[in-house]
């Protein structure tokens, strides 16, 4: 057991897989010699050499295209996009090429690749370096989407992503990089599509992801003080989605609140709400409530950004409103 930051857990997860499988390689902007602009890949080039951990030009289409081609020809590559906002400059490769090629070729092409990217707000970076874009990826058939909330899960889900035979996007949350946790020694490997119940409760289910998980946990603690028992589910993976855990919980508590960093329209909470409404409507004791950022770009000013991203107070208020 060793205390590990979320940022160090990223390097540990990658190292675990590179140690195990010589076909795992990683490329990206400043990931090698510099150890990543967020220091999430520190030490990997020194440990695994310049052929396996390689710096690229500022060329997101080349990065994503190169890992696609490499995956077609025997490697298990990891490509880093420095900020998830940069998905927009290589969305053709990600959404048109990587996501669709297995299907369009009738299963001839396998793409065992991972795109890692720093996602999410709370860092005062403004509208082009703060977005939570996991819902973009979720909307494209052919992409798997994970977003860990703890250092331990970073290691386990990274390993699962690298070992998965299909393309996986790992959204690493910038706001969580400094978070610390005791992480067990030895190999950690999770399965994609398994949610965890972080806080047990009986009155309401709060579904959250990545940096919204600690917000939901804190909200549950405050609610407990006022006599409301909230269950917090960390979804961990949007595709595949663990609807079984979610539906079991909501059918027991009778209430659902989702907490998303996505802007309101078509955030992942809407999909979850529709699954619950379609399948266990009659188990509900109140309306499903979504806590999201407003439908606006994220502002840079601290006071404005804090207003935009769901806070503990807003989650508490939403839960009380659902009763």
């Amino acid at each position: 057991m060793a205390e590990l930051t979320y940022r160090a857990a990223i390097a540990r997860g990658i190292a675990q897989e590179m140690e195990r499988d010589p076909s795992v390689v990683m490329i990206g902007e400043d990931v090698a010699a510099a150890g990543g602009v967020f220091k999430t890949t520190e030490g990997l080039q020194a440990r695994f050499g310049p052929d396996r951990v390689r710096d690229t030009p500022i060329s997101e289409q080349a990065i994503t295209g190169a890992i696609m081609g490499a995956a077609m020809n025997g490697l298990r590559p990891i490509g880093e996009l420095m900020f998830s906002d940069f998905l927009a400059v290589c969305w053709d490769i990600v959404a048109n090429q990587i996501a669709k090629t297995r299907y369009m070729t009738g299963g001839q092409v396998s793409l065992p690749l991972v795109i890692r990217t720093a996602n999410g707000g709370g860092t005062r970076f403004g509208g082009q370096h703060s977005q939570s874009l996991e819902n973009w990826a979720m909307a494209v058939p052919g992409l798997k989407v994970v977003a860990p909330s703890t250092p331990r899960d970073v290691v386990g889900l990274m390993a699962a992503a690298v070992r998965d035979p299909d393309p996986v996007i790992v959204f690493e949350h910038k706001k969580l990089f400094a978070v610390k946790q005791d992480v067990p020694d030895g190999e950690i490997v999770d399965r994609l599509g398994v949610a965890t119940v972080v806080t047990r409760g009986s009155d309401v289910t709060i579904a959250a992801l990545a940096a919204m998980v600690p917000v939901a946990v804190e909200a549950a603690a405050r609610l407990a003080a006022s006599g409301v028992s909230a269950e917090v589910i960390d979804l961990r993976s949007l595709v595949p989605l663990d609807t079984r855990t979610l539906l079991e919980s909501v059918s027991r508590t009778g209430r659902l609140v989702t907490v998303e960093e996505n802007p309101r329209l078509c955030g992942w909470g809407a999909e979850i709400a529709s699954v619950v409404a379609e399948e266990i409507m009659w188990d509900l004791d109140g309306p499903i409530i979504r806590v999201t950022t407003p439908h606006c770009p994220l502002p840079a000013a601290a006071e404005l950004e804090d207003l935009a991203i769901p806070s503990v107070e807003r989650v508490v208020e939403a839960v009380l409103r659902s009763r």
């Binding site: 080349a62 696609m68 020809n73 490697l75 053709d92 070729t105 009738g106 299963g107 001839q108």
Partner: protein
């Protein structure tokens, strides 16, 4: 190479006819007139080398060895299609023959070809990627990102610009600031400016052998510009009326198959041997057509297969 060019020509003429008949659906982008580029390169490649091409990729895929009936079936949306009818004309692929896909978004496959070459370099397999694209591709960002990465990493990839003088309906000369869309950009990536007569199969083949073997020796990428011309419009929707008649006439007279046949005859190849090649190609096309006419549509169950490696498309438990 004569056999290859004739097979490609007869095949695509049949694709055109079957489109008019309503058998081939959607759209098609024919490479009629550009067969020498596909034939010259295919003849220079090893079986394990990798071809990446565009939506104008029937010739390249066929000449790497994809079965003709399965290609035609794909365009007709039949269950014998090489991609099970899920790709269509613009996505014909035969990985078993090194035909690593036809990509329908302009420029997208250049970085992919570079990536496959990177894996070949990393694994020491000796494979080379050959990536075909049109003149219009030279104006899109992915072209430049891929060329730069390939040059910096010295990747074993040959980029082949088939300059047929038109980007879709617009003359390429109207949208570039230089004379040669590829060759004049090569110096930006430290590469030689290479222009070849794309209607002369021998010239293409010599260039292809030289650049592919250079890549295989670890001497890095090349960018080749092959001058050619399409006999038809950009796609099925386009009669190509924007092209001056004198230009069309001149290029039709400089047809790659006609000039190659004349050369073979002048060099003493027996007329009977050439006629036999043509008869064989005719029979092959007829046989493929017959197979496609008799093939049923895809099984409805395949709508949701092959999205994931487990064969399915589940997104939840």
């Amino acid at each position: 190479m004569y056999r290859d060019m004739v097979r490609a020509r007869y095949f695509e003429q049949r694709v055109y006819d079957l489109f008019m008949e309503g058998i081939v659906k959607g759209t098609t982008h024919l490479g009629l007139g550009q067969e020498a580029v596909a034939a010259g390169f295919a003849a220079a490649m090893h079986p394990t080398d990798m071809t990446f091409c565009t939506y104008r990729g029937h010739n390249h895929t066929l000449l790497r060895g994809a079965p003709m009936a399965a290609l035609l079936g794909e365009m007709a949306g039949r269950n014998n299609g090489i991609c099970g009818g899920k790709g269509g004309s613009m996505h014909v692929t035969d990985v078993s023959k090194g035909a690593m896909g036809s990509y329908a978004i302009v420029g997208a496959h250049l970085p992919v070809a570079a990536g496959a070459a990177w894996a070949a370099q990393f694994r020491g397999t000796g494979q080379v990627s050959v990536c075909f694209f049109g003149d219009g591709t030279t104006n899109i960002g992915a072209f430049h990102e891929a060329l730069n990465l390939a040059a910096v990493w010295k990747l074993p990839v040959v980029f082949v610009c088939e300059n047929n003088l038109y980007m879709e309906y617009t003359p390429i000369s109207a949208v570039i600031a230089v004379e040669h869309p590829a060759a004049n950009r090569a110096s930006a990536y430290g590469l030689e400016p290479l222009v070849v007569d794309g209607n002369d199969a021998d010239a293409v083949h010599a260039m292809a052998l030289d650049r592919i073997e250079r890549a295989r020796r670890g001497e890095g990428p090349s960018l080749v510009e092959a001058m050619t011309y399409r006999h038809k419009g950009h796609s099925r929707a386009d009669p190509g009326m924007y092209r001056p008649q004198e230009e069309v006439d001149a290029w039709m007279a400089y047809d790659p198959i006609t000039i190659y046949r004349a050369r073979l005859t002048a060099e003493g190849t027996d007329e009977g041997a050439l006629a036999a090649i043509e008869a064989d190609a005719d029979a092959e096309v007829d046989d493929a057509t017959e197979q496609v006419r008799n093939a049923p549509p895809p099984d409805p169950a395949t709508l949701i297969t092959d999205m994931w490696a487990d064969g399915g498309s589940a997104w939840r438990n």
